[in-house]
Subunit: 126 residues, 4 copies
């Protein structure tokens, strides 16, 4: 039994929102929006992220690599190139990989003293 | 690698409930129920929403457009025509599009001082 | 465009747990575990639920109907026949329908003053 | 109508993180990360879990059994052999079974007085 090549190459996360402020010690309690990407393959995954908005053209592509047999819990907060992700703004994202990966979307919202969490496996398509 | 035409044309969200009251500054902290819709196509998506209830006939259709290469984070609270969504009432919804889209369901519950969040990719079918 | 017959006839929810106690006004803030079922068909759905446990044989079947073009937000707390759902006990469930339906799993945990929420579309199979 | 053999044999959970500390009475309110596994088959499921990390080789396999017609709500906190799951560290997991099962991922985060919850059906593949 092996888990090699599990996943899909095209993923979408319609929900995206990075709050403008946080509450609690950083970086652990900083409000953040995460795409957790798992690459079970024996080769590196080259990943291209595009951000969609309500009233402007898409941003990107943002390029990231997930090495072979590794996971990357990518914070959208950390995306800088070609442009940072605007705070307090609705967005959505697509994640395209050259090899099958699995993507899970998680948000920690710490605008208030007690955190709130959400998570879902993203929408995947072959 | 392109993300064009990712998604499905038929979606369902069995869970729906808009609390009767909120806590915190509006509109950001208003209790709300959202269908985040992503349209990666080069053409606009024409979307038809139907609401289902426990003990009455369905309401709708509610018609909304999501422009090409845009996302819409639609608050059910804002649906007005043909009728507003009743508060404090169980409902469910179907979302039908003329082109493939992706739908994610999110709720912010601010009935209490500390918010709670839930989210899931909706159920999609070709 | 119609949403008729969307869904699947076999669903599973591996996570199940009804806390032993609650905090806040009942019934709204009573800790509860819900299977939200949507029936978009023009005929009633006859549904059979089985509960699985860690260290005893399954319980059920529990029989419920969801009328044509209605949703039922079924609280596991309310299941009584053939036996109530034990509190403070891990369980899982399968939901079998004679017509296609969609199932979403939600929990409100009010053991503490501020509620926590979780939700996911259940696992569906044709 | 029967629910026998519902599920898939290969599952992935890209998100994984066990907080370093908790708040509240143990074991109920101990921060934990859970894979809820449901086996509806008439035979036992032999399950092999592999953990993936950001900057080191995978750990495992961890071997667990889920008896016929039982559910196991497995806490990653409890995995000990071949090595415990590091706290405060990003990880991901794959879950491989010899018979079809269903897997749901849940986290209770009790780092703060009021708990936060997340849950999603894991990513399954035949």
């Amino acid at each position: 039994m092996t888990a090699q090549s599990i996943g899909k190459r095209l993923w979408a996360i319609p929900e995206g929102y990075i709050p403008k402020y946080s509450h609690g010690p950083e970086p652990e309690m900083l409000s953040h929006e995460t795409a957790c990407i798992l690459n079970t393959n024996d080769e590196d995954a080259h990943i291209s992220i595009t951000l969609y908005f309500t009233d402007r053209d898409p941003a990107g592509p943002y390029e990231v690599d997930v090495p072979a047999r590794r996971t990357l819990h990518l914070r959208f907060n950390d995306l800088k190139d070609p442009e940072p992700v605007p705070r307090g703004t609705d967005y959505a994202s697509t994640i395209v990989s050259n090899v099958p990966v699995i993507v899970q979307h998680t948000r920690l919202d710490s605008r208030q003293p007690e955190n709130a969490l959400l998570s879902t496996i993203a929408y995947g398509q072959s």
